[in-house]
């Protein structure tokens, strides 16, 4: 559809002027070119997903076939007189037909037409080695079923989800409390404390890692979920910032009304602020779920001795390191089974999610 320049509807001139028509044609062409370019770009950008998806349905033999197509393909066979024969694409009288090779010969081979086997054997002049095998769409689900048990998928899925959900509760509760404190109360040093909070974002993790890890070892927490869960109950800079920015936009009148009615600060938070802050609380929850699902380093160092308590991300990395590169289908199946949850969460909540990124990214 072409979009012409906005024009008044009633007094429509019978003929658009030449200049307007030329401009609208140029705009159409531009928008076609730009959109086409974007399509090519996004196709390239997401093509690895397609590749991974296709590989996950292929057996090692299918992948290593010479000239293997992009889809899961196996050479087709045809059963003739109780035996399986490979099917080739045979040019006969200028028409390419798919025929089962029954008897191989150097210069002349014998074929059977699978659609008309009753007609018997047909002789064909030429080297059968030059023929292309006929392929059939043969996806395998073995990679998925194998990964299910080899990766210990149900166990790791449970671990990952449990760690994500417990951490989500800790993050939402603690960050809401802290953001409320920053957004609604005046006290000396508030600005300074907020500056410190934000600056922790720029602190390299390595600077705190050594003593923290050492203390967790001494506490006997290494090899448990505690190092992953306990810190979430003490708030983090990103989410506090996100929540605070939102709370600042909520008018104070209702807080004050609640205060006059005798509600304490905590009561006000629960019955006045939280009901108005659901969008941002959901954003923080989704952020935490995705962050926790994708976290690699913390589970790696704290759970390396306990594969049964490990998360999917680390489990997948260990799995792919232990498997030889000859099983790409298996590894890609495991990969897709790991990424499916955060991707679906994102697609469901993409509006909330991206608005959260804008707030933490731009307004800081």
């Amino acid at each position: 559809m072409t979009v012409t320049a906005q024009r008044p509807i009633p007094a429509l001139p019978l003929q658009k002027t030449r200049a307007v028509r030329r401009r609208s044609r140029r705009e159409t062409r531009n928008s076609f070119l730009v959109t086409f370019f974007a399509v090519v770009l996004i196709a390239g950008f997401l093509s690895p997903l397609l590749r991974s998806f296709a590989l996950s349905f292929q057996t090692p033999e299918q992948i290593s076939q010479v000239g293997a197509p992009l889809w899961p393909a196996s050479p087709r066979t045809f059963t003739y007189n109780g035996r399986d024969y490979p099917v080739y694409k045979v040019p006969i009288n200028g028409v390419t037909r798919e025929m089962a090779l029954v008897k191989k010969g150097r210069t002349e081979s014998q074929f059977v037409d699978p659609t008309n086997a009753g007609a018997g054997v047909v002789a064909w002049q030429g080297g059968w080695r030059t023929l292309e095998p006929a392929l059939t769409f043969a996806p395998t689900f073995d990679n998925y079923t194998n990964v299910w048990s080899l990766l210990n998928y149900p166990r790791l899925l449970f671990n990952t989800a449990a760690i994500a959900v417990i951490g989500l509760i800790g993050t939402v509760v603690s960050c809401t409390l802290v953001a409320y404190g920053f957004a609604r109360f005046r006290f000396p040093g508030r600005g300074f404390l907020f500056l410190i909070l934000i600056s922790t974002i720029f602190l390299p993790a390595a600077v705190t890692l050594v003593p923290t890890y050492t203390i967790f070892v001494k506490l006997g927490w290494v090899g448990t979920w505690l190092p992953l869960l306990v810190p979430t109950f003490f708030a983090n800079a990103y989410d506090v910032f996100l929540l605070r920015q939102y709370l600042l936009t909520i008018p104070r009148e209702m807080d004050e009304a609640a205060a006059i009615d005798g509600a304490g600060p905590l009561r006000t938070l629960i019955s006045v602020i939280v009901p108005q802050a659901w969008p941002v609380i959901i954003a923080v929850a989704i952020f935490h779920l995705v962050y926790s699902w994708n976290d690699f380093f913390a589970p790696l160092i704290y759970l390396s001795t306990k594969p049964d308590l490990q998360t999917l991300a680390v489990g997948l990395a260990t799995f792919s390191a232990n498997r030889s590169a000859q099983e790409p289908g298996l590894i890609q199946a495991g990969t897709l089974m790991t990424l499916i949850v955060p991707v679906i969460l994102f697609l469901m909540f993409q509006r909330v999610f991206m608005r959260g990124v804008v707030i933490t990214g731009v307004e800081k």
Binding site: P48, A321, G361
Partner: protein, 310 residues
């Protein structure tokens, strides 16, 4: 002086302050326990000989760890590796999200909301999954990247196993992480007043002129922000090589990043004090580079809110 001028807090104000601090207490406790005390402890560790097993008695060793640092060739080699990689990856990390945001904000693009979701989506893919998917794409024989290069007549390199190509390979692996940058850049572009473009057009500026004289200056705070975060991130880079080859440094030591060395000192060799010293050096380098960036900002970052003196 200030203390004298300020009146004593009223009962009400004191009440409010107490409630506020009470609500802040989870973060304050967490900050002390997981940030401030560990940072100080890390510094204290650097002057001792702590190891996880502590075979030798704990003692104060002065500047021994720092002297060891300066004599340790692996420190300098791994820093060089990190800087080389940063030189390739930082421009991409800054320019690519900006360019994609420009495309998404183009008036000529149809369906830009859909494109925005699609460009952002890989940002939420677990990075381990991203690494495994992209290393498949970069495979020299079966990967689609070399397959595509082959179609246009170029013999693609063995990306991840060739010391000369591994950095571009790692940059390609990281390309799925640009989603956050795209969103931030796009929000920045939306914030540029359209009058500026109208004025530039009246002055005869074309697409390039508008980009050069309106978009880039107005976007400089966003570019500055992505650059600073990019520096902080790239200096800590090591997880991708850790997943790719278990941190072996292949090919030929090209992926022995500084943070990888730190990680190994710490977890493989369990030398806490030396690891802490490495961490402090990393912290100081990060501070120094971001400090230089903040200093340079006055020459190239334009804040619309401030009056420009030039």
């Amino acid at each position: 002086m200030i203390a004298l001028r300020r009146p004593r807090m009223s009962r009400l104000a004191w009440h409010e302050a107490r409630s506020g601090l009470l609500f802040l207490s989870p973060w304050i406790i967490g900050f002390l326990a997981f940030t401030l005390i560990p940072v100080i402890a890390t510094l204290a560790f650097t002057f001792t000989n702590i190891t996880l097993s502590q075979d030798v008695p704990l003692r104060f060793v002065g500047l021994d760890n720092y002297l060891a640092l300066f004599r340790d060739p692996q420190v300098w080699e791994s820093l060089l590796v990190t800087f080389k990689f940063a030189a390739i990856s930082l421009p991409v990390a800054v320019i690519l999200p900006f360019a994609v945001a420009l495309l998404l904000n183009s008036r000529s693009l149809r369906g830009s909301a859909l494109f925005r979701v699609l460009f952002f989506m890989p940002y939420v893919v677990p990075f381990v999954a991203g690494v495994l998917i992209w290393s498949q794409m970069l495979n020299s024989d079966t990967g689609w990247i070399n397959g595509f290069l082959g179609l246009v007549g170029i013999q693609g390199p063995d990306w991840l196993n060739d010391a000369g190509w591994v950095y571009p390979g790692l940059v390609i692996i990281g390309v799925w992480g640009i989603g956050g940058g795209i969103i931030v850049n796009q929000a920045g572009l939306k914030g540029i007043p359209t009058e500026l473009y109208d004025a530039a057009r009246i002055d005869g500026a074309g697409w390039w002129g508008q980009l050069r004289h309106v978009t880039l200056p107005m976007m400089s705070p966003v570019i500055f922000y992505t650059l600073v975060l990019g520096v902080v991130e790239v200096l800590q880079y090591f997880l991708v090589p850790l997943v790719l080859n278990q941190g072996a440094g292949e090919p030929g030591g090209a992926t022995r990043f500084y943070n990888l060395y730190l990680y190994k000192t710490f977890f493989a060799f369990q030398e806490m004090s030396y690891g802490a010293t490495l961490a402090w050096l990393l912290f100081l380098i990060t501070l120094a580079i971001t400090g230089v960036l903040f200093w340079s900002a006055r020459y190239w970052v334009y804040y619309a809110g401030e009056s420009s003196s030039s």
